[in-house]
């Protein structure tokens, strides 16, 4: 019984050792290249368990196939029209063809050297095809910065895939700058623009304020006119209602007018009046002499 257990253990150990010699794993994040006597014989891009001949017959080279980021240096180049521009570009890349990568590049650090050179070339070629006003423009429709980056990506993808077995997944301009001297000119222009805006703002404020005041005054005039028209209508109604009583005055119009005169005259003369009166008029005749009154028989 014991010997069977020992035998199973030994067999298991042997199987493990043999498997370790003749198999290998490729992780989900990796790709691999199998060489037989130094010659690349199999390229593996799918993860899983694979078999091999033990060394020195076959060698396994594994590559991390996940995305890596590489930043180029800040570089001065020229746009179409020879306007100097300073750009800094980054790329996100991965190993797509292990065989080509191993043969033409070999390592990640060497790959970055190649990428740097290719990026400079691509950057220079593509940016040279566009004028500066296509990077930034007062008319947004003329801005083609996304197109420029897409074109750089496409150009770089083609060149590094074929030559180095690398796939560039993304590219972006991470800095877009101008030279120090040009920045001074920009400041002068910005100052000019801002002064114009300042003056415009002040003028707009005054114009708007005048418009508001004028409108208010116009509304005031309109409202007063409307109120006066309405008042006139009310007064007219009053006069019309009063006219109904005039019929009663028809009983003796002469007396009615006399009474009306007697009513309004004191009102008219109630203020600031000087009277020059002859004393032969009543009742001032009393001032001249005593009246000669006789009882009526």
């Amino acid at each position: 019984m014991k010997s069977i257990a020992v035998a199973i253990l030994v067999v298991l150990v042997v199987i493990v050792l043999v498997m370790a010699l003749i198999s290998f794993q490729v992780r989900q994040t990796e790709s691999a290249l199998v060489t037989t006597f130094g010659k690349a014989t199999r390229q593996i891009t799918e993860p899983g368990l694979y078999f091999r001949w033990p060394p020195p017959i076959q060698q396994i080279y594994k590559f991390d196939s996940r995305l890596r980021v590489f930043e180029a240096d800040l570089t001065e180049t020229t746009t179409k029209g020879a306007v100097p521009i300073i750009v800094n570009t980054y790329v996100v890349w991965k190993i797509a063809d292990p065989n080509k990568f191993l043969n033409s590049v070999g390592s990640t650090s060497a790959a970055e050297v190649k990428l740097h050179s290719q990026m400079n070339e691509t950057q220079s070629n593509v940016i040279g095809q566009y004028s500066f006003s296509e990077f930034v423009n007062s008319d947004p429709k003329k801005i083609r910065i996304q197109e420029i980056q897409d074109k750089m990506l496409s150009s770089l993808q083609n060149s590094v895939r074929e030559a180095y077995g690398m796939e560039v997944k993304a590219l972006g301009i991470k800095q877009l700058k101008i030279s120090a001297d040009v920045s001074k000119d920009v400041f002068n222009r910005m100052r000019g623009e801002r002064n114009t805006i300042t003056e415009k703002t002040i003028a707009e404020g005054k114009a708007e304020a005048v418009a508001i005041r004028t409108q208010a005054d116009a509304q005031k005039t309109e409202l007063l006119a409307a109120a006066q028209a309405r008042a006139k209508a009310i007064m007219g109604q009053g006069d019309a209602e009063a006219a109904k009583y005039y019929e009663m005055l028809q009983a003796d119009p002469e007396l009615a007018m006399f009474l009306r005169d007697v009513e309004v005259l004191p009102e008219i003369l109630k203020d600031r009046s000087t009277y020059i009166i002859n004393t032969d008029k009543d009742p001032f005749s009393l001032l001249r002499e005593m009246p000669n009154l006789q009882p009526k028989k």
């Binding site: 992780r27 996100v92 910005m190 304020a209 005041r213 004191p266 009046s273």
Partner: protein, 428 residues
């Protein structure tokens, strides 16, 4: 047994010494114990080996199993979620259990577009002062370009200078939304003992995330004027966020952008004076407009009260119905109310006067018809008395006795009240 052997061989052998028996026995015992211990160790190792396959997932994590290096499972089952009982996987090298933090956010501050500051300046709360003629150094000063206002074109000497300069600082908050894509595609170093995967992710992703944000800011900002960049901060941030997400999707990174925040923004310090003047002008404009609005409000209130503006609008509106207009008229206040009230008072007075006069005539008429002269004279004299009582001046003239008559000159002031005014003392 030993005796049989002696017999069979016919040789007499001396029995083994007692010390040798004891030694062999003790070796045998020791070996037995050793084998027992070894057996126990092996059983313990097997138990430990099997127990090491039990794995748990925290609520903020998801997990994937790599079986011989390949993600195990199909469809949604490839991503393992937290549950109340542990998962069991074959120990390495068959399976690998990879836990990925999905709920934890990765926060990243991006200062690539900010002007250069010394450590001392960073700690200071005061704004840095820079003379107007100091240029930006492209190697150390960060900034982005923004487009110019279209109306500013006539200010330019050349047609290719359609831009301004802006400094900004950003904050990216993102998290892993697709653990499988993230694990498969995004490079991170292997986790060392004592390290947390989220810390490794934060460390290894800094460059990638910064570059993606930088590129998105450069691409977005050229579409906005410097004023838009200030006023429409939310729109610009959303634009940048969309561009960042687009790049992450393009890389199949499995990263989701939670937010992109612009945490600071300023114009170049070299043009600070001009921008401050512009801000002051905006404030002055607003003050002037507010003053005008106050004036308008007061004017309309004094004219017609709170309904003034509404009534003014209704007067121009041909479709305004009478009931609505009447409701506005009834709510009127101010000068207009005064005019209407006076008209109302006039109406009442004129009607009541007419009524009173008619009644008076009706009452007096019978007596007048009997004694007209006396009634008229009485009324007349009462009226004259009333008038003269209130007169400011009364001048009585004795009529001339001769036939020729006489001429009297009286200086009458236009305003009789002025006669009573004391003369102003003249300075001697």
């Amino acid at each position: 047994m030993a005796n049989e052997n002696i017999k069979n061989t016919g040789q007499q052998k001396s029995p083994p010494p007692a010390e040798t028996d004891a030694g062999a026995r003790s070796i045998s015992e020791a070996l037995k114990i050793s084998f027992l211990i070894l057996k126990l160790i092996m059983i313990a190792l097997v138990i430990f080996f099997l127990a090491s396959g039990f794995k748990t997932i925290k609520t903020d994590e998801r997990a994937i199993i790599l079986r011989f290096g390949k993600i195990h499972g199909r469809g949604e089952a490839r991503i393992l979620k937290p549950r109340t009982w542990p998962y069991w996987v074959f120990p390495y090298p068959v399976d690998q259990f990879i836990k990925i933090p999905v709920e934890k956010t990765i926060d990243l501050n991006v200062d690539s577009f900010w002007y250069f500051q010394t450590e001392e300046e960073k700690l200071s709360s005061e704004k840095k002062k820079v003379p107007p003629d100091v240029p930006l150094n492209p190697l150390i000063d960060g900034y982005s370009l923004t487009r110019s206002e279209p109306y500013a074109e006539n200010l330019r000497a050349s047609g290719d200078s359609d831009y301004n300069i802006l400094h900004s600082r950003w904050k990216l908050i993102c998290q892993i939304s697709d653990p499988e894509s993230f694990f498969k595609n995004v490079f991170t170093q292997d986790i060392k003992s004592g390290e947390k995967y989220i810390d490794v992710i934060k460390r290894d992703l800094t460059n990638l995330l910064t570059d993606v944000v930088d590129s998105s800011v450069v691409t977005a900002m050229v579409n906005y004027t410097i004023d838009e960049a200030f006023e429409k901060g939310g729109t610009v941030s959303e634009h940048v966020k969309n561009l960042v997400q687009k790049q992450f999707d393009q890389m199949e990174s499995g990263i989701r952008v939670v937010s992109v925040q612009r945490i600071d923004v300023t114009w170049p310090l070299q043009v600070d004076d001009a921008f401050q003047a512009s801000i002051s002008a905006s404030q002055a404009k607003q003050t002037e407009i507010n003053d005008a609005r106050n004036y308008a409000q007061n004017t309309l209130n004094e004219t017609a009260g709170p309904v003034a503006a509404e009534l003014a609008a209704a007067l121009h509106n041909k479709d305004a119905n009478d009931a609505y207009l009447e409701s506005l008229w009834s709510a009127l206040a101010g000068k207009c109310r005064e005019i209407i009230s006076q008209a109302g008072a006039y109406r009442m007075k004129v009607v009541s006067d007419a009524s009173a006069n008619a009644n008076y005539l009706t009452q007096i008429l019978p007596e007048y018809q009997k004694r007209p002269q006396l009634v008229v004279q009485a009324i007349y004299k009462n009226a004259i008395a009333k008038i003269l009582t209130k007169a400011d001046e009364k001048i009585l003239i004795e009529p001339a006795k001769s036939d020729k008559g006489s001429v009297i000159y009286i200086k009458v002031n236009r305003d009789p009240k002025l006669v009573n005014k004391p003369k102003e003392k003249t300075q001697e």
